[in-house]
């Protein structure tokens, strides 16, 4: 049942804000800083290292570029990229970090990799990659931090020995209910662009947007999740329950993982603000969020609270 029917309406710029919340889960996360000779190669490494990392369901981790870094923000004074990786456990995250850095950063010309967090539970970063050096690797402690230098064909790969894992929040989300595909995409893009300016978060799906929002369970015993029929316009007249009003013909979702609850909240706010600013004329009629009734995830992001204030505008 739609939340809007049971409580007072809240509208911003003509867009209905549902009285609902996004339900998120605890995850483990780390930040890596990848630098290279220039932006291009730092991007190449970062894109590859965070590829195929949309959902922990089958990718092992959720990862994406957090933001590009200017030379004065990186440890070695070269252009770089900050990436965030999220996983359900520290152990799985460690495995993903090692594989992804080993295959996508160590291999990428001119790159170096550093821990982007200075506190937390340590996991191996270049610690095991060093063995690629076949005995020629060199360890170096500089100001309390250990680096490994591994000879490669372009010179040497430098990597910090460990990175740090912190508790994080995964699964913040925003549902954009729109008139048509054009309107939904444009709103989602604007939302993602605004969220990317917020530090400490990533939107792990392609372009930051997911169209295959899911519910828990399936009629097929082997599947643990399946299409979110309540939000599928194709199923408005068929499904047992629908969340869609007439006139909503396309829904997009933005999923947000963040280092802290506040980061996720800030990102959702930025996204909503951006969409709201475009007004109902741009084709978006409602903003909603996905949850499981609040029983599965400890983090609840109430759309209305995030936007501040109840009631109509």
């Amino acid at each position: 049942m739609s939340a809007t029917e049971t409580t007072t309406r809240m509208q911003r710029n003509g867009i209905d804000i549902d009285d609902t919340f996004a339900e998120a889960f605890p995850m483990k996360a780390t930040r890596l800083i990848i630098t290279a000779h220039n932006d291009t190669w730092a991007q190449h490494a970062a894109i590859a290292a965070t590829g195929f990392a949309t959902s922990v369901i089958a990718c092992g981790c959720e990862a994406a570029i957090e933001r590009p870094l200017s030379p004065d923000e990186t440890p070695d004074g070269r252009p770089g990229v900050a990436v965030l990786l999220f996983s359900m456990s520290g152990k799985e995250l460690a495995k993903q970090v090692e594989r992804r850095v080993g295959q996508c950063v160590l291999t990428c010309p001119t790159t170096a990799v550093y821990a982007g967090l200075k506190d937390g539970e340590p996991i191996a970063l270049a610690k095991n990659l060093r063995f690629f050096g076949d005995g020629w690797q060199i360890s170096k402690m500089i100001d309390g931090t250990r680096y490994w230098r591994v000879p490669t064909m372009d010179g040497e790969f430098v990597g910090e020995e460990t990175t740090f894992v912190v508790k994080a929040v995964g699964g913040g989300n925003l549902l954009i209910l729109a008139r048509d595909t054009e309107a939904a995409l444009a709103a989602a893009e604007a939302g993602v662009a605004a969220m990317r300016a917020v530090p400490g978060v990533i939107m792990p799906f392609p372009g930051g947007v997911v169209r295959s929002g899911s519910k828990v369970g399936s009629k097929y015993a082997s599947l643990s999740a399946s299409t979110n029929d309540a939000f599928c316009p194709a199923l408005t007249p068929l499904a047992r329950k629908t969340e869609l009003d007439p006139g909503v013909n396309c829904v997009m979702e933005i999923v947000i993982d963040g280092l802290t609850e506040a980061d996720v909240s800030a990102a959702m706010r930025a996204g909503m603000d951006a969409i709201v600013a475009r007004g109902a004329e741009a084709g978006v009629s409602r903003l909603s969020a996905g949850n499981y009734g609040g029983k599965l995830g400890p983090f609840h992001f109430h759309l209305r609270r995030i936007l501040g204030g109840e009631g109509a505008a």
Binding site: D76, R78, M141, D154
Partner: protein, 275 residues
């Protein structure tokens, strides 16, 4: 309650005296410290017979301090095995200054004797003047020399400096004697002045940075010409923090030699001033 303890040497003793076990400590009591036994040759004397002792209360959570004044060239083991606090020597110090130190800071205005900072494990030692031989090396029988921490020497160091050094950073603003960084295991030594003979003899790993004139290349060191921009950027930034001749090392990749080939050859010399 934290304390600043002052020891003022009345006059240089006739014999060498070990000041082992006298370190900065919270709640130090001047009367009690003055009664601590020291050995003057075969004779046990009270510390108060050699030093004027006074104590001054500091704010509760301040780092405890120990200030030693006077010409302490014959006072050995100052700050030996120290594990925190700040120790200032206003003048010269004897042998074994800061040996086996774990943490804290020692600042010496003048010179210190032999074996300073040997087997240093952590903390920071800064010497306004110079050091004798075997600085940052190993104690007799020790397999490793300095193994952590930072040692900054504004003046010159004697022979065998950083012998068997394993970790940590050593910056020498002046010149070094013979056998600098001989048998070095790892760590970083940066030298602004000239090095004596047999520099890096038998070094296995570790980094020697010659901020000033480059020594002659020994026959067991060879040049590599690969790009070490990244490593140099990291190291240069760390060196620059210590200022002086290390503040403005050029950013371009320095010339790099590896050696000692007779000992595996994973040590390196970086020569930023060379073309």
């Amino acid at each position: 309650m934290s304390t600043r303890l002052h020891l003022r040497l009345r006059q240089p003793p006739a014999l060498r005296v070990s000041l082992d076990d006298i370190v900065p400590e919270t709640g130090a009591d001047a009367t009690e410290v003055a009664r601590r036994p020291l050995w003057l040759g075969r004779e046990a004397v009270e510390l108060g017979e050699l030093f004027d002792v006074s104590a001054q209360a500091l704010a509760g959570d301040a780092t405890p301090e120990l200030v030693i004044e006077g010409d302490c060239r014959r006072i050995d083991d100052i700050g030996r095995g120290m594990n925190g606090g700040t120790l200032r020597v206003e003048g010269n110090a004897g042998d074994y200054l800061g040996a086996e130190m774990l943490a804290g800071e020692i600042i010496v205005g003048g010179n210190a004797g032999d074996l300073a900072a040997c087997e240093l494990r952590g903390g920071r030692i800064e010497i306004g003047g110079g050091l004798g031989d075997f600085a940052a090396g190993a104690l007799p029988g020790g397999m490793d020399g300095m193994r952590g921490g930072t040692l900054v020497v504004r003046g010159n160091v004697g022979a065998r400096c950083a012998d068997r050094m394993r970790r940590g950073m050593l910056l020498i603003h002046g010149d070094a004697g013979d056998f600098l960084a001989a048998r070095m295991v790892a760590g970083t030594v940066a030298l602004a002045g000239r090095a004596g003979a047999h520099c890096g003899y038998g070094m296995r790993r570790g980094t020697l940075v010659f901020a000033g004139p480059a020594p002659e290349t020994p026959p067991t060191f060879v040049e590599t010409r690969h790009d070490i921009t990244v490593f140099w950027a990291l190291l240069r930034r760390s060196l620059a923090y210590h200022g002086g001749p290390f503040a403005a090392l050029p950013a371009r990749t320095p010339r790099r030699l590896v050696g000692d080939l007779a000992a595996g050859g994973k040590g390196e010399w970086l020569l930023p001033q060379m073309d």
